[in-house]
């Protein structure tokens, strides 16, 4: 549920986060000055396309590698500064489901072992207790008894991803970073997994950061949404408000390009040129492909800041916010 009480402290606060690979020569910030709050029990969606930095953001929060600047505060502790034993201890509270169900599971372990392992690492329960917990969480994910002794090699992609989700939920974390958790699954299984994630969230009071490229899933599943483009937040707002009334031309184009089986006749907005891999030195990162700003000087010379727009808490970084409408 969205935070109605503004006194609630965020579970996760990301502030001024910048992160580059190959720091130094030719360094380029894959994430540039990212700030947001995530409140307990909330689901925040991060949407954007390849190269927008959404997976880098997930990894930075998971403390995989160091960041250049900024802070990532989880429940009062700056995760980016914690190391060694303290970090291991802290890791129990934030877990991640990776995008790739093939690379993220040890092929020699059984399903039961895979789910029990994180509990053992964090000293949860005894062997019998862990087995029973693993069994119950796997069965709620639709993997019955007969899967317990199988290895990942004998599972379908969808079954593997459900094992990965069971593994993440096993240590009872507060924050779960879901990096494209349903992308590899069949449609009917996607629905099942989304339902399960929603059930577990309600039951355990989980907080989700949901990295997703499927906009329909984002709208359905998230309370609030950040739209990332080439390492910057270009728009954010509540899921409802953002989808009803997108303000940034990139967001509008993105929504328009997402196929909808109910609207066979609608016209998609096709962007100009090819996707860029880097932000230009000056101006709006979207300017060269933007239906609204490609020929406007200000868009190429001045970087628009995130500014309040249409509704409550709805912000967009565009000189001409709201000008492009989705005509579907």
């Amino acid at each position: 549920m969205p935070p109605t009480d503004t006194l609630t402290a965020p579970l996760l606060r990301v502030s001024g986060l910048s992160k580059s690979y190959n720091r130094g020569r030719g360094g380029y910030a894959v994430l540039d000055d990212i700030s947001f709050d995530l409140f307990p029990g909330e689901t925040l969606g991060v949407v954007g396309e390849s190269g927008c930095g959404k997976s880098t953001l997930a990894r930075a929060i998971m403390r995989i590698g160091d960041i250049d600047r900024g802070s990532i505060t989880l429940d009062g502790t700056d995760v980016s500064k914690v190391r060694g034993k303290a970090l291991r201890e802290l890791r129990k509270t934030f877990q991640m489901v990776f995008q790739d169900p093939f690379g993220s599971l040890d092929p020699r372990m059984t399903v039961a072992q895979l789910v029990e392992q994180p509990m053992a690492v964090h000293g949860i329960s005894d062997a019998a207790g862990r087995r029973s917990l693993a069994r119950s969480i796997l069965s709620s994910l639709g993997l019955e008894e007969r899967f317990l002794e199988r290895t990942p090699g004998s599972l379908s992609g969808g079954q593997r991803q459900r094992v990965a989700i069971a593994r993440a939920l096993a240590p009872s974390p507060q924050l779960v970073v879901l990096d494209e958790p349903i992308s590899a699954l069949d449609v009917s299984v996607q629905a099942q997994v989304l339902n399960l994630l929603a059930d577990e969230q309600r039951r355990l009071g989980l907080t989700y950061l949901f990295i997703v490229h499927d906009l329909a899933a984002a709208e359905y599943f998230c309370d609030r949404i950040l739209v990332l483009y080439l390492g910057r937040i270009v728009e954010s707002g509540t899921s409802e408000e953002l989808f009803r009334n997108p303000q940034h031309p990139y967001t509008v184009s993105l929504f328009s390009a997402a196929p909808d089986p109910r609207r066979g006749d609608r016209k998609r907005i096709v962007l100009r040129g090819e996707p860029q891999s880097k932000r230009p030195a000056t101006g709006c990162p979207f300017a060269s492909r933007c239906p609204v700003g490609f020929d406007r000087e200000i868009c190429h010379t001045s970087t628009p800041p995130l500014a309040p727009t249409a509704g409550d808490g709805h912000v967009a970084a565009c000189h001409f916010a709201g000008e492009l409408k989705d005509t579907r």
Binding site: D199, D260, D295, D326
Partner: protein, 378 residues
Amino acid sequence: MSTLTPPAALPAPTDTTDSVLEVENLHVAYGSTQVVRDVSFRVRRAEKVGIVGESGSGKSTLALAIVGLLASNGSVSSGAVRVLGRDTVGLSDREFDRIRGRDLSLVFQDPLTSLDPVKTIGHQIAEVLKEHTPKISRARIRERSIELLNSVGVSDPASRLNQYPHEYSGGMRQRVLIAIAIANDPAVLIADEPTTALDVTTQAQVLEVLDSLVDRLGISVVLITHDLGVVSEFCDRVLVMYAGRVVESSPAASLFAHASHPYSLALLDSLPLPGRSRSEPLAWIPGAPPAMTDLPTGCSFSPRCTWAVDACSVVAPPKIMVGAADDHWSECHRAEEVAAAAPVAEAASAAPPESPAPAGDPAPPATPTDDRTPDASH
């Protein structure tokens, strides 16, 4: 290898003069396991047919059988695949090589593994051109390569020809594969999940390119995908596959509102479409698709079907025509009742769209593909 009793014939197509591809009662097996069962459809010139299904539905095997690239343990056990009127079942690899690329071409999902990383794009296009026109001149190769890259929307094609696949973005690589596939003017393009690995805005570009090929060159496209949104938007007609069979064939535009097979309906109901409330869980299909070695009797979907009655697990349903036109059928005993039940979010889709674009909207027109060739609509 296994001998099957020929199944009851479909209502015979009355007019086949316009067909570029006809698949008739096709059965494909890996070893003794049937994975494609009695599939029949035909594709007209400049028609876009979507084949939609989940993992294991047999859709990719069907595609491979059509293009003659089944794995060595796979074979067509009965039925026919006619490309421009010629039955390709049983052709030798050499004979099929002459058809593939020229009459019939294919595009796979993964553009990175389909392109050779150590050869330039120009080199790879040239290879395909020489394959079917051995005496083609170097000047003609260059001219045709530039023309092909242009037609798939690659900017600055002359200099792009000298680049390697890694210098192209994912969407450009996929468009290059399409360029290679159409190099020898095929009549039909079989595209297996061509946009699945791509971002949505990039997917929009690729679909736009495919649309323009259909409109400008009259190519027919068979699009194999798991994405119901993509088929509804791109295709003229959609075939829904389950457990190796086509269980529903429908005009794409009416699949959402008039899905007539419980499986199609359940798939549509499971989508997290805008307007569906999160407070209500998404519908999903209990159980799992059957093993092809152990199919249930009667309708293959019956053990998972909320519409199933006693007869469903006993008698395999015939194809039942739905609606007034003769272009929509479903293999379900209760097809007409199912057709009357709209997916849950249909009401939401009836909501009026946002206010029209304001005057002076500088959005440029996408690509001039508004007009469909008359023979694409039927």
